[in-house]
Structure formats: C-alpha cells, structure tokens
Amino acid sequence: MKTKEASGTRSDPVDTSSAGSDSEKKPEKKVRTPEQIRRRDTTRKWGEISLFSGPALIVFLVFVVLPVGLAMYYSFYNWNGIEKLDNFIGLDNYRRAFGDPAFLHALRNNLFVVGMSLLVQFPVALVVALVLNRRFRGRNVVRMVIFAPYILSEVITAVLWLLILQPRGPLDAVMEHLGLGGLKQLWLADLNLVMWTVFFVISWKYIGLAIILFLAGLAGVPQDLQEAATIDGASWWQVQRRINIPLIAPTIRVWMFLSIIGSIQLFDMVWVLTHGGPAGASSTIATYMFQYGFMRSQYGYGSAVAVILFFLSLIAATVYMSLVLRRDNANDTNGG
C-alpha cells in the first residue's frame, strides 16, 4: 500500500482514475486524511500539466528532436533513403566530409560570411544607428523603410537581386551610364567575386535588423547621462564612445550571436542566387548538404553533414552563451 501511494503521486492521471474505482473509492470517501487530499491534488496538478504542455511536447519531440536524433543515427550509415538501413560504416561519412575539398570550401564560405558580417555589417550598422538616434523630421519613415527588407523572404530578395545583377541588367546599364563600364563584372558567375556579391545581398537584407535593434537599445540609454556629458563638454563622438556604445553592448552581443548563427545556417539566399555555383564557389554547408543528401539521395552522408552543421551552431552558441550572455545576466542582477 505504501509503495502504491508513492507511485500514485507521480504517475499520470489515468493511473489514479483506475485506482479510484469502486472497491477502493468507498472507504476513502468516508474519512479523507490530509495525505489523501494532497495526493489527489497532486495527481490533478499533473493531469493539468500534461494537458497543457503535453501536446506541444509531443509535437516538438516528434518533429524536432526525433529528426535531429535520426540525423545523428543515419550519419553512421551508407544509405540512400530507400533500401534497408544496414550498411553501418562508423565515422566514414565524417572522414569523407573533412577530406572533401568541396566541403571544406563550403565551410570556409560560411566562415567568410560570419567574419564579414562582424567586420563590415557591424560597424556600418552601428554608425548609422548612432547617427539616426535623435529626433528629426521623417524619423519614423526612415526607420520603417530601413527595416522593410528584413520582412521580405530570402527567396524574393534573391530573385530581385538576380535580376538586377544579371549581365546586361540594370546595374550594368547604370555603371555604363556613369562611365564605369570598365568595372562591370559577372557578379554571380565569377569564381572569385561571387561570395562578395552574395555577402552584399545578405547585407542589404539584414543590415536593417541590426540598425533597428541598435536603435532600440539606444532608446533605453538614459537621456540625462548624454546631456550631462554634453554639458561637461564631451564631443558627440566621446558621448557615443564612452556612454552609448558601452550601454548598448548587450544588444550588440545579442545581434552578433544571431548573425553568427544565421551565417552558419545560410541556405535560401545562396540556393536561389547561385545554387552554390559556379562550380561550388559559393556553396555553404547547408547547400552542400542539400545537394548530396537530397538531390543525390545520399541520406547517410547528407545526415553527417547536417550533424556537423548542428555541432558548429551548438559550439558557437555554447561558447557565446558562456562567455558573453552570462556576463550580461550577472550585470543585470547586480544592477537590478
């Protein structure tokens, strides 16, 4: 009896409803000990919890956790997605990936986008945000327009720029008109240039997000700090460097995190712009995975590439969280 009680407190509601069937129910109803009331409340609570969180948990486990787990499982097999899954090859898929120059090139391209985002997008977005952080006529319109490309899908953005950048397209025409015809390039077909073009298009779409996030951070900086510094004779740049930038550092770090994760997972934009071409020059880990895993039906190998992609994001996220976000949280608790 004692063990049954203990198990009853923790099991799901189905269990107790059967326990409360006729034979046991009657004596319990006469005298309810506090222990029994507590037990009933606990089961009821667990019933509610599973009712509320259960559906989401099931959907999440089946369609997020299970596929990721399966990817790890498949990655140890040589498998085309149809035949029996019995050709276990250990770590061969991983060895193959790291021995394939095409994969390493894709990896380098992802790192290129990560690095360039931090080196180019970040300073540009920061300066624009600092300059725009004031009241001026048309401020709301400017903010809204700058942010608009973020709402467009990567596919539409890519098609739009595909048409602008095509040979004999509008960009070439404008360059000729300005007497810069000599600088015309095959923007998306030049092996050495294509990643720069891809990076430009990514920046066009995503820099607005950075600017708007920074502006939101700046709106939280107390006005009197800036005013006090200005009265004390600090120049505009000194106010930015000593007050505004340090105070929005948490926002900046969060943006960096989002940018790094996004750059590692880059797919849609590149796939529509170039399909990873020419000759794999603009491929990313995700386009490489799609090409091998899906189009060539190498599900085992594709899964191994997906797992590598996952671990890259995970490493970036963990390092980031432990180094940076924890510090922010610590500061928050100290300050609050």
Binding site: V59, V131, F136, I151, L152, I156, V159
Partner: protein, 298 residues
C-alpha cells in the same frame, strides 16, 4: 556688494545662454547628418524595390533596350496576366493557409505549454523548459533530411499539413520563450481572486490569462506568420509536384527559372508576391519590431 552679485549672476546667465545656443547649433548639425544618412539608407533600400515594381510595367524588350529606364509606354499586361493566372492565386492561397495554420497551431500549443512553465511548481519544470529552449539550437536545416523521410512515411508529401506541422514544432521554442515571462509577470492576486470566485486553474487559463496575454500572443503570432510566409527549405522538400501546390516563395523561384527569358513577367510576379508581406509589415510594423527586440532581450 549687492551690485557685484547681480553682475556675476547676469554674466553667468549669458554664458549659459551661449552654451545652449552652441548646443542647439550642434544638434542641428547632427540633424542634417541624420537626415542625409537616413535618406541614403532609404535610397539604397528602396531603389531595388522600385525597380522591381516599375519593371513589371515594362516589356522585356524595353528592359533589354534600356535596363534602368522608366516604363515607356506603361504596359499593364504583365501584371494583368499574373493577376489572372490561377497558379499565382493558388500559391497565394497556399501561403495564406500554411501561415494561418502554423500561426494558429503555434499560438495554441505554445501558450498552453508556457502556462505550467510559468505558473505551476513541479518537479522537472526546469528540465522541460530547457528541452523546449534547446530547440532554438536545432535549425530546420539539420533536421531536413530525416524530417523529409518522416513526412514521406506519414504520406504527407505534397500536403500542406506536411509543412504546417513541422513549422509549428520548430516555432514552439521561441514562442514559449516569449510567452513564459509574460504569463509569469501577471500578478498572483488575479489568480487568487479567480480561485475565490471558483475558477480552477484550467478556467483561470482560458477565461483570464489568455485574454490578458493578448499582446504577447499577437507578438508570437506575428513572428510565426512571417517565418512561415518566408519559409523556403521545408516547402521545397515537402511540396513537390505541380506548381499550383506551391507556396509563394517556391512559386517565385520556379517562375524565375521557368520563364528566365521573360524578365518583365518575372518582375511582375516578384513584386506581386512581395506586396502582401510589405503591406502586412506596414500595418504591424510596431508590433514586429517590438516582438523582435523583445525576443532578443528575452
């Protein structure tokens, strides 16, 4: 003595006024810079968009002859043929259905899941929350291949449900992360009052909490809608087959490959496909920005 005091005071006053004048001048200077930078940013953003919209009013011959010119004469047939094509409207409808289904599912499941995590005390609460938040680390790309096989085995290839259900699953983490603190912050007194009035915790959730949480629900809803509207990889895998079964991003991409020689038609198709997103954005801009900055802080 007194006269001296007065004179220093007036001196101070004038120097203060000078300060203010200098500061005001400096602010104006900054305003000019802000307007110049703002206009430049607006131009960089808008020119490509305007090119696409105007290009749809030209013929492909006009575009080839003068790629950067204005429509001359204005041609309405390209937009007309897109607007009268069943394919375009099918794709629009599919996008709307997928986005609406995803949004509804995410709001329902996400808010329900966040409720115990916010307002119950139970063992494994922390673990449950961590499980959901870890989902943020699983990009859809990592799960794509097994997810495709799973959907195939469920017989949902080509079905909108095959896109909607996984999208709900992948949108749950961010939804729960935004909803939980919001539900948590609602004062305990409301819950006690509800209990005294005889509402159980389930009744409290539906009758009190959900109506109060409307701002947060709107935020997560908008985020889910945008994510679904713009999704590409999953529809690409799942919605194979006829173009009328595609969503708009797939449709635009396919139209572009299929009619690559008819630039004007692609421009018309693209601008009509981006219009709903831009309209949606203009109406809900505040909510979207708040949602994103909130999600980032959360």
């Amino acid at each position: 003595m007194g006269a001296e005091d007065v004179s220093t005071m007036t001196e101070q006053k004038t120097s203060n006024e000078a300060d203010v004048r200098v500061r005001r001048f400096r602010l104006d200077y900054g305003n000019i810079l802000a307007i110049v930078v703002g206009l430049a940013a607006v131009a960089v953003t808008l020119v490509p968009l305007i090119y696409v919209v105007l290009g749809g009013f030209r013929t492909t011959w006009q575009l080839a002859d003068n790629p950067a010119g204005l429509p001359h004469p204005w041609v309405f047939s390209k937009y007309g043929s897109v607007l009268t094509s069943a394919r375009f409207w099918h794709q629009m409808l599919n996008s709307i259905l997928v986005a609406a289904g995803t949004t509804t599912g995410v709001i329902l499941l996400g808010t329900m899941a966040a409720y115990p995590l916010a307002r119950y005390n139970f063992r494994a609460k922390g673990v449950l929350y961590v499980i959901f938040t870890l989902g943020l680390m699983f990009p859809i790309g990592v799960a794509a291949l097994p997810l495709y096989l799973l959907i195939r085995d469920l017989g949902l290839i080509g079905s909108l449900w095959g896109v909607i259900i996984p999208q709900i699953a992948f949108q749950l983490p961010i939804t729960i992360i935004i909803m939980r603190p919001f539900l948590k912050a609602l004062p305990k007194e409301i819950e006690e009052a509800a209990q005294i009035d005889g509402l159980g915790r389930v009744g409290f959730f539906w009758r009190i909490l959900v109506p109060l949480a409307r701002p947060a629900i709107l935020t997560v809803g908008v985020l889910a809608f945008i994510a679904s509207w713009n999704a590409y990889l999953l529809p690409l895998l799942i919605l194979q087959g006829d173009a009328s079964g595609h969503t708009l991003p797939l449709g635009v991409q396919q139209f572009q490959t299929q009619y690559s020689s008819d630039t004007a038609a692609i421009l018309a198709y693209t601008s009509l496909a981006m219009l709903p997103a831009l309209a949606f954005f203009t109406i809900l801009e505040r909510r979207i920005v708040d949602g994103l900055t909130g999600a980032v802080k959360g």
